[in-house]
Structures are given as C-alpha cells and as structure tokens.
Amino acid sequence: MKVIIGFGLVLALLIVLPSVQNVMAAGDTPGEYLDRKELIWGLFYRLMIVAFTVGTVVSGMIVWLVLRFRESNPKAKPTSYEAEGNW
C-alpha cells in the first residue's frame, strides 16, 4: 500500500517539477504571457496518449478473450464447473 502511494507521489512529482520551472520562467510582460490554448491542448494530447494506450490494451484484451474463449474455438475445453453442473 505504501509502495503504491509512494509510486504515485513520485510519478506526480516527476511531472510537476519540470512544469513548475516553466511557470517560474514565465513572465508578465508582453510576448511572455502563457498561451492558454497551448497549455490546455498540450495537456489534452498528453492525456489522449495515455487514454489511447490504455484503451488499446483493454480493447485488445477484450477481443482476445472473446476469440480465445468462445465455445466454437478449436482449443475450447469445458470449465471445471461444467463437470459439477453448477456455477
């Protein structure tokens, strides 16, 4: 449990720290204003990469499971629960 929280914190820090440097450098003078659109869409693209990666894994897993464990698959064998007749 502690490992998970620690891992999460480390991950969060690794992301936050480089961006914090970003804002320290950003100024309030013309030409150095933060570009709202760029920041928001940048975040969007980063999250989309994560979402599509996870999505590919999950969808791929579902497709594989459906094909491998369908009863018409040549490798299909009865589950141990079918022998008892109760699941």
Binding site: L39, I40, W41, L43, F44, L47, M48, A51, V54, G55, V58, S59, M61, I62, L65, V66, F69, R70, E71, A76, K77, P78, T79, S80, Y81, E82, E84, G85, N86, W87
Partner: protein, 508 residues
C-alpha cells in the same frame, strides 16, 4: 412466466396486482415504451441537425422542448423504471423471500410513473433536463415548466419509495441462512443503488420545491433579483445527480454480473471485489458533484477538491471491468445475444470512463464543457453501458417472463446495428465537441467540419433506430409466437442456476 400471451391473464389482474413479478412486469412494459418514445425524439433531433438550416423542425423552441423531453424521458422514465422492473422481479427471489417487503407500497410506487410521465409529455418543457435557474425561473414558459416540476416531484417520491422497499427487503427480509456476503451481486447492485437514492434524491426534491416557489414569485432562492443565487441550485442539483448517474449505472453493471458468469460457464472471478467496488463507488460517488460546475466561476481550490473526488471513483469502476474480463478468462463462452450486449457494453463503458477522466481534468473542461464532447461522453455511459446492459438483460430474461425464446438472429442484428451506430454517433460527437460545437443548439453555422460530422452522426442515429425497430418487432412477435423455451435452461448452457429464476406468481 407472467406474460404468457397465448394464455392471456385478465389485464386488470396484472394492473391491480401487488405481487412483485407483476409489478416488475408493469415497470418493464412502461420503461420499454418510454425507451422507444424517447429514442424517437432523438431521431427527430438528428434529422434537424443533419445539416445547417431547417430540415424538419420549424422553430428553435420546439427543438428545445424535444431535447428536454428526450433527456428527461430516457433517464427518469426508461432507465430508472427498467432497473426497478428487474429489481422487483428478482430481488425477492435472490434473498429467498416471498415478495418485496411492502407489496402494496410497491404497486403505489409503480403507479406514480404513468401520471408523472403524462405530466412531462403533455407539458413538454424546454429548459433542458437540468432546469437551471434563472432561465427556469424567469424565462421558461409555463405551464410546461410547472408540469415538468410536478412530474419530477412524483417520480422522485416513486424512486424513494422503491428504494426503501429494496433496502428493507434485502436487509430485513432475506433468508436467515443467506449471509449478505453470499448474496448475488445483482442484489448488491440494488442495495447500493437504493442506498444512494435515499441519500441523494431528497436534495433534489428540496431543489424542485424551491424552484417551484421561485417560479411562483413566492421566494427568491435562486433569483438574484430577490437576493438569491442560481449557483445554489446547481449545487443542489448536482449533489443529487452526480450520485444519480451511479444509481443509473450500478443496476446495469449488476445485470452484467448475472450475464457474464452464466454464459462463460464459470462463477464470477471475485464476488468480494464486486461487493467492495459497488460499496466504494456508492460512497465516493458523493464527492465529485461540482465537476459539472467547473465553468460557473468556482475557485481553484474548489475545483481541485472535486477533481480529486471524481478521479477517486475511477478505480471502483475499473474493478468491475477487471472482474468481467477475469470471469471470461478460462471460460467456455456461448456468445448468445445477452452476452454480446454485455461485452459491447463493457467496451463502451471503458471509452466513456476514459472521456470522463479527460473532463475531470479541470483545464480541459474549458475545452469540452457544454460541447458535443460532453454529449458523446455521457451517451456512451447511458446508451453504451446502461442501455446495452439493460437490453442484454431484457433478452436474457425474455424466456422467463414469456415462456418463449426471442429470435436469436434478430437479436444479434439488433446488437450489431446498435454497436456500430453507437460508435458512429457518440465517438464522432467527442470530436465534434473538440471542434467547439455547443450542445443544445437548434442550428449551427456551416463550418465544414461540423457539417461533415453531423451527417455521420445522424446516419449513425438512424442505424441505431433501425436496430430498435427490429427489437420492437422481436419483442412483440416472439412474446406471442416465439418457440417455447426450456424453462430450466433456455439458452442451453448446461448446469443449474444458483437461484431459481422462476417465481411463483399466485395468479398464474
């Protein structure tokens, strides 16, 4: 079997019955009727939005009324009653009791739905299903608005009465030999969603009453001209309606907890994970409501708190996905219609959740709030997960209710058309939202990308519509003339059920 059409029972016997199977049947027929009606409204909207300019609907007020009644109908008159339908039928069986705890109250709770539905449909309000003030107070035309408010008041009471019935039946009437930890997950779904209802819905009841008195001019809760705050309504509304979306989805996930193990020919991977996930979701679901209000002028700290609350609910939902996939692993799956719907539902559930995480990220809300991204996102939940789970369960339950099998080919065609249509409509709507098209608009400028995507979406909607027409034909024809089913094992899976699906209806 409560609906054996070839040996019909007198209609008043069903209508005046308090037996849980009959009340369940009444809920089921009502909810399916409203499903088709609400869906038809969606098709009207999609014809109008096919391209810029007027296609079908002559004025924007009619359009606004149609989308308001579409949303209100499908949430309150289809999803909630369909959950109640199967709950009423199955919960007493699952806890091994003879009926619901309060059978007469049960019938009363059902009979509140048709008049409430009539109020909503005869009024046809236009202020969206949220009914946000100050529009709903100072600008929305009555009596439509007031009829909607009364209709929802009645539906709220019906929900609360139903929830009380479920909680008491499960907690107090269950068989002494059945520990809660061994109760089927579908019963757990009803327990948790009913508990959420009892905590969340009264808040909206209060908000509705305040809205009504505001409209009458007797109070100024939400009207700044009388010292009120419209944002207060949003908090009250979303405090109910964020947990409400869990009330909507939890029964559908519960249906999948019946379908996956049954058709995979093995038990659910982890019963205790399912219980834990339902309970955690019910609790954490109360911590995220104001993520619907990110654009209303909240402070950074407030937004952060609700973002954390939103993200905290994701692991609980993710646990259900794991449970289903792990159940299929190592099984020998018969891909009959019900499990096709369940698998499709889980795949779409994931996409819906992923889009939701994007919305939850506060700055991204500036991009997506009140655009078609949100419409696509929540429809992937209500259509992709909830409707798919519910329709799959309707197919599954069909033989038990009617004694006959539905037509399998039509069921599978219905699934394919619905899945393809759902992806075409709602995934495209995400992209349309990224291009900035707001929701709830009657017409739009001829921006090329918007036009192209709207055409695709309208075509997808009609594909879904054709599937639904096939469903309606299948339901009606098969109830009367379908092949008689083997009541012990209608899907020919082998094995026994761990609880009998067949209830003893005293009039049958």
């Amino acid at each position: 079997m409560v609906l054996e059409l070839q040996k019909p029972r007198p209609i008043w016997q069903i209508m005046f019955s308090t037996h849980h199977t009959d009340v369940g049947l009444l809920y089921l027929i009502t909810s399916l009727a409203f499903m088709f009606m609400g869906g038809a409204l969606a098709l009207l909207l999609r014809v109008e939005l096919f391209s810029p300019g007027v296609q079908l609907i002559a004025d924007s007020m009619t359009y606004n009324r149609i989308f308001t009644v579409h949303g209100t109908t499908l949430i309150f008159l289809f999803i909630l009653p369909s959950a109640s339908a199967f709950g009423n039928y199955l919960v007493p069986i699952m806890v091994r009791y003879k009926d619901m705890a309060y059978p007469k109250l049960n019938a009363v709770a059902f009979w509140m739905i048709p008049p409430a539905g009539a109020l909503i449909w005869l009024g046809f309000a236009d202020f969206t299903w949220y009914a946000y003030p100050t529009y709903s107070v100072i600008s929305a035309p009555g009596p439509a608005a007031d009829m909607w408010i009364f209709g929802l008041k009645i539906l709220g009471i019906s929900s609360i009465l139903g929830a009380i019935n479920f909680v008491v039946t499960i907690m107090k009437c269950k068989h002494p030999d059945l520990p809660l930890s061994k109760m089927p997950l579908l019963a757990w779904a009803y327990l948790t969603s009913s508990l959420i209802t009892l905590v969340a819905v009264p808040t909206f009841a209060a908000a509705l009453l305040m809205l009504l008195t505001d409209r009458l001019g007797a109070s100024g809760f939400f009207n700044p001209a009388m010292g009120g705050d419209p944002i207060a309504y949003q908090h009250l509304f979303w405090f109910t309606f964020h947990p409400e979306v869990y009330i909507l989805v939890i029964p559908a996930i519960g249906f999948m907890y019946e379908i996956f193990p049954r058709f995979s020919r093995k038990p659910i991977f982890s019963h205790s994970s399912g219980v834990f996930a339902f309970t955690l979701l019910a609790i954490v679901g109360f911590s995220s409501w104001a993520h619907h209000m990110y654009a209303s002028g909240m402070s950074f700290t407030e937004k952060t708190v609700f973002m954390v609350g939103t993200l905290a609910a994701v692991p609980a939902s993710a646990m259900h996905v794991f449970n289903f996939l792990a159940t299929m692993w190592g099984g020998r799956i018969k891909f009959a219609t019900p499990i096709m719907w369940a698998v499709g539902g889980i795949a779409l559930f994931f996409s819906a959740g992923a889009g939701g995480v994007v919305n939850a990220a506060m700055p991204l809300d500036f991009m997506s709030h009140d655009t078609y991204w949100v419409v696509g996102h929540f429809h992937l939940f209500v259509m992709g997960t909830i409707l798919f789970g519910t329709v799959g369960f309707v197919y599954y339950f069909f033989p038990y209710v009617t004694g006959r099998m539905y037509n399998e080919v039509m069921g599978k065609v219905h699934f394919i058309l619905s899945f393809v249509g759902t992806v075409l409509v709602f995934f495209t709507q995400h992209i349309l939202g990224l291009f900035g098209m707001p929701r709830r608009i009657y017409d739009y400028p001829a921006i090329p990308e918007w036009v192209q995507m709207n055409i695709i979406i309208s075509i997808g909607a009609f594909i879904i519509g054709i599937g639904m027409a096939i469903f309606l034909v299948n339901l009606i024809w098969s109830s009367a003339k379908g092949k008689p089913a083997d009541m012990d094992d209608p899907f020919e899976l082998g094995g026994k059920y761990y609880f009998p699906y067949q209830a003893k209806n005293p009039s049958h």
